[in-house]
Amino acid sequence: MSSKLMSEELFADKKTGFFIYLFVEAIMFTTLFATYLIYTPPQTGPYPGELFEWQTTLFASLFLISSSGTLLLSEKGLKERKMKLIVAGVVITFLLGAGFMYFEIEEFRKFITDGHVVSTNNFLSAYYVLVGLHAVHVTFGLGWMIVLLVQGRLLPFNLFKEKHKIFNYYWHFVDAIWIIILLVVYIPYLF
Amino acid sequence: MKKLLPVLIMLFLTGCNVRTLNPVSETGADQAFLIKLSFGIMMFVVAVVCVLFIIFTVKYHENDLNRKDIPKHEEGSRVLEILWTTIPFVLLAILAVPTVMYTFQASNTEAGSEDTLHVDVIAEQWNWTFAYENGKETHKELVLPVDREVVLHLKSTDVIHSFWVPRLIGKRDTIPGEENELKVTPDQTGTYQGKCAEFCGLGHTDMRFDTEVIPAEEFEEWLSEEK
């Protein structure tokens, strides 16, 4: 009873499955947010207010949030089947994501050189697990974008379109998690 | 059969003397009452299910007469389904009321009077230390006066243990970094087994202690004795 193309049906399957997967991710991050809230502020220092710097957080956020915007550009290219726009969108998104990672790593590096490591106190442990897991997701996304650029040349367009769209969901989701991280981890202790 | 008989006799004897059902304190008695009440209600449920089960399996068992039959389609029955939804609610309510009551009672551990005895119970791998207010300490031996209220302050220095004297009162965990309390008034003298109920590593099995409940005068004497 299906009048749809095979690729459309199979894409709808995959979309369903991937959204369920994102639900799983959401539960994982929820658990980590709960963990962070339980252990912060810690009984002994250093306290989050002493460590966070608003400049780093601001720049990192600007980069990551705008990368969701540029990815929308690429999605627009997908609709109109303009390969150039797609590639340009992905490349800019990649650069913005890499910029975000620069600030993230900078923040970790600074904490660690100052002697604030995972085992220092429970706040820092929770911080590293939560923000670290998010950073791992962004890094994975960066690698995924490189793969996606190659796939654009090799795969039939419909399959590429599907892979691109799945990546979009992933990237927007990771972005949304960052916004919650901002609200839960950083903002209460920055002001 | 000859070999089986002693076993059966022993079974019968031990069955009559089950520790948690022969409590020596009021709190313990409340808990034993709850166990018996819930057991009674639940036996009713098991009986109903078993009777229906036996009737249906015997009556509708496949045999030469019905082998070829095709039973009628039966969607369900509103009346029956409402019946077995509401009756469990009633049964549960009978159980829930005393449960709530006794749970609140058991967690009220405030000392009733000035006279209340306070004992610090410190669990560690794999030992029990009981510290009295006058500084006296014992290991693996808890001595309590009869008919006097006791508040036990449960602490742990390493992992989680659980303080359990089946005949006296149900268990409560000892958690590192936190303090739990138990309030109990033993009402019979005697020696009762105490055990660690929460798995705590290598020596868990041997982490036992004796609880001795003795008359008040003897207790005062014992307490003032130098150890």
């Binding site: 499955g17 | 089960f53 390493d158 659980s162 109920a197």
Partner: protein, 641 residues
């Protein structure tokens, strides 16, 4: 036993030596059987296929192997507890702790959960008229993750490093301050890897049931096993991610000196919350599919439709929802306060209502039916009273104040075995007898099946019934000995005898399988006079059983078509099926994760990096070898014409 090795003397316990010896003996025998019967092509076929039925069979096969291993652990425990102050072999103290940790963890994670996923794999697509699961490749990945996790955990014993902190891994005992060494790292990584596999399986099941049902098979016409699978998948999606994070935090405590769960600095009780937020739904994850299986089997062998179908579905859903808000009933003695304890006591009691509805619906399904006493039905009949007994002790346990006596005693041990064996294990056996024709095309011997059933059931009640009394008499769980004056000797003695009886019953099962493969009868199509769609296709079904896709307009449509002598109507233009393939990639991923896990377990950084690179490379390989490439190309070419 002491060994001299390079001038250093190494102590190896005799049970580990015996373990290695048995491997050295069994491996050549297995190899001989494989070579003699030329099983190579079959093995290659099963290990690289994405067909749901074959993957399901593999799940069941390996769960059964783990079942035997964990069962042997149980026999050692029961032998150690046979008499007061017994000293059996090496199983006192640490070795006994390793036994019950391995037994519990394996039975829950590598037997109960995967065997049900295996049965879902075999039956659910066929019951809903799907040619395969929505993501066949992911399905094979999920299986290999389960196998890898199970193997990692399985191997711990052979390196004399079996986990020893109980399957619940209560902190701070499970942190490296109190249990140093690799032992409990095996637990973390075994569970982490297989847990991911379980999540993938749940995603797959859910997407399949949402997207791939036959035309006309609305949710309200779906058989109850797929329904149970749907609810179970939902529970898995909530429970297992929480476990993953709990294990991650524990890993940070153990490997990187964090102090999440250490006393004084962290919150030991937080581990218990996380663990039981996972752990309680897990109980229903392994119980609900069993309910689904029994609903189908009881209806089938009573030749009658399920009584009160709607209330069956509603009660499944309610149990699923309530399962998410009762976890604190495992923590009544922690001291969380009277309010929280009573709240969770009441929610726990409420679960009895939908469960009771199901029990009575099963009973009334049989009423006015024709009950055919075949082996699968015997297991289903054994289930009803057994499970009810486990259920009522569950209600007793939910009474918070009384639970202070029950908690962590043998009463709890008895209760949990009554519900888990009573539902999951009996369901697994029932379903194996029931769906064996679908898995292999042959039918298991009914007489041997009945021997298996009766011995297992009698052995089971002998083993666990008296444990209730032992618990009430003050026997705590997880102890390796008791004294004469504890007065629990007779209970334990009879209990051990029961355990041996259960072991004997398993020999009948094994013999049944061997006999059936040697000389068993071909099942033929529809051997049980079935009601649901899986029996409308040949046994065993071909790769694409629903080439002629049926159109469904009622429940038990296949039964209806048989008694009315009307063939199933066929859909004109059914939706496309998922695309199958043959692939070694999941096997490669499994190997990579195996290396990665061992890197973490023993703290070898270079092995971690190697395993990490290999694991990530599977993503890249997969990205450029998608099985759909050809089909999509063809479609595009057709559209251009």
């Amino acid at each position: 036993m002491e060994f001299s090795f390079n001038g250093k003397s190494v102590f190896v316990p005799t049970d580990v030596i015996a373990g290695w010896l048995s491997v050295l003996i069994i491996t050549p025998i297995v190899l001989y059987i494989i070579i003699k019967n030329r099983y190579w092509s079959t093995i290659l076929d099963y290990t690289t296929t994405t067909n749901h039925r074959k993957i399901g069979t593999l799940y069941i096969l390996f769960s059964m192997l783990f079942f035997l291993r964990a069962g042997v652990d149980a026999l050692f425990m029961r032998t150690q507890l046979l008499t007061p102050e017994n000293e059996f072999w090496v199983f006192q103290g640490e070795k006994y702790n390793e036994l019950f940790t391995t037994h519990g963890t394996m039975m829950i994670f590598f037997v109960a959960t995967p065997i049900l996923i295996g049965l879902m794999n075999v039956a659910v697509p066929l019951q809903i008229g799907a040619n395969d699961l929505a993501f066949p490749y992911l399905n094979l990945v999920g299986f290999y993750l389960f196998l890898t996790g199970g193997t990692i955990f399985f191997l711990a014993f052979f390196f004399n490093a079996a986990p020893n902190m109980g399957w619940t891994a209560y902190a701070p005992l499970s942190t490296d301050s109190y249990t140093p060494g690799p032992n409990n790292n095996f637990y973390i990584f075994g569970l982490q890897v297989s847990g991911l596999g379980t999540i993938f399986a749940a995603i797959n099941m859910m997407a399949t049931i949402i997207r791939l049902r036959a035309p006309g098979l609305t949710l309200s016409r779906m058989p109850l096993f797929p329904w149970a699978t749907l609810i179970t998948s939902f529970l898995i999606l909530i429970a297992f991610p929480v476990l993953a994070i709990a294990l991650l935090l524990l890993q940070f405590d153990r490997l990187y000196d964090a102090t999440f769960f250490l006393g004084e600095l962290g919150h030991p009780v937080y581990w218990q919350h996380l663990f039981w937020i996972f752990g309680h739904p897990e109980v229903y994850i392994i119980a609900l599919p069993a309910f689904g299986i029994f609903s189908d089997i009881i209806s089938n062998f009573s030749r009658k439709n399920v009584f009160g179908y709607t209330s069956m579905v509603i009660s499944l859903t309610l149990i699923g929802l309530l399962a998410l808000m009762v976890w604190v009933h495992h923590m009544f003695t922690v001291g969380l306060g009277a309010f929280s304890n009573t709240f969770f006591a009441i929610t726990s009691m409420l679960i009895a209502v939908p469960t009771g509805i199901k029990v009575f619906n099963w009973l009334f399904t049989m009423r006015r039916g024709v009950i055919s006493m075949k082996a699968p039905m015997m297991f289903a009949l054994g289930f009803i009273p057994t499970f009810v007994m486990g259920g009522v002790t569950g209600v007793m346990l939910s009474s918070a104040a009384a639970d202070m006596q029950f908690h962590d005693s043998y009463f709890v041990v008895a209760h949990l075995h009554y519900v888990i064996i009573g539902s999951t294990i009996l369901a697994a056996f029932a379903a194996i007898y029931y769906w064996y024709p679908i898995m292999t095309g042959k039918i298991l011997d009914d007489t041997l099946g009945k021997w298996h059933f009766w011995l297992f059931l009698i052995g089971f009640h002998l083993t666990f019934f008296l444990q209730h009394l032992a618990g009430l008499d003050g026997m705590p769980r997880r102890v390796y000995e008791y004294t004469q004056e504890d007065g629990v000797w007779s209970y334990n003695f009879i209990s051990s005898i029961g355990a041996y009886l259960m072991a004997v019953s398993m020999l009948f099962f094994l013999w049944n399988i061997i006999k059936t493969h040697r000389s068993g009868a071909k099942a033929g199509d529809d051997p049980w006079d079935g009601r649901t769609l899986e029996w409308s296709v040949p046994s065993p079904p071909p790769e694409h059983p629903f080439e002629r896709m049926p159109v469904i307009d009622r429940r038990d449509m296949f039964w209806w078509s048989k008694i009315n002598n009307k063939p199933l109507p066929v859909a004109k233009n059914p939706r496309p099926s998922p695309i199958a393939r043959r692939t070694f990639q999941p096997m490669f991923l499994a190997g990579s994760l195996f290396i990665l896990s061992f890197g973490f377990i023993y703290g070898w950084v270079w092995v971690q990096i190697l395993g990490g690179i290999l694991s990530l490379s599977t993503f890249v390989i997969r990205a450029f070898s998608d099985e759909r490439t050809e089909a999509y190309k063809r479609e595009e070419e057709e559209n251009e014409q």
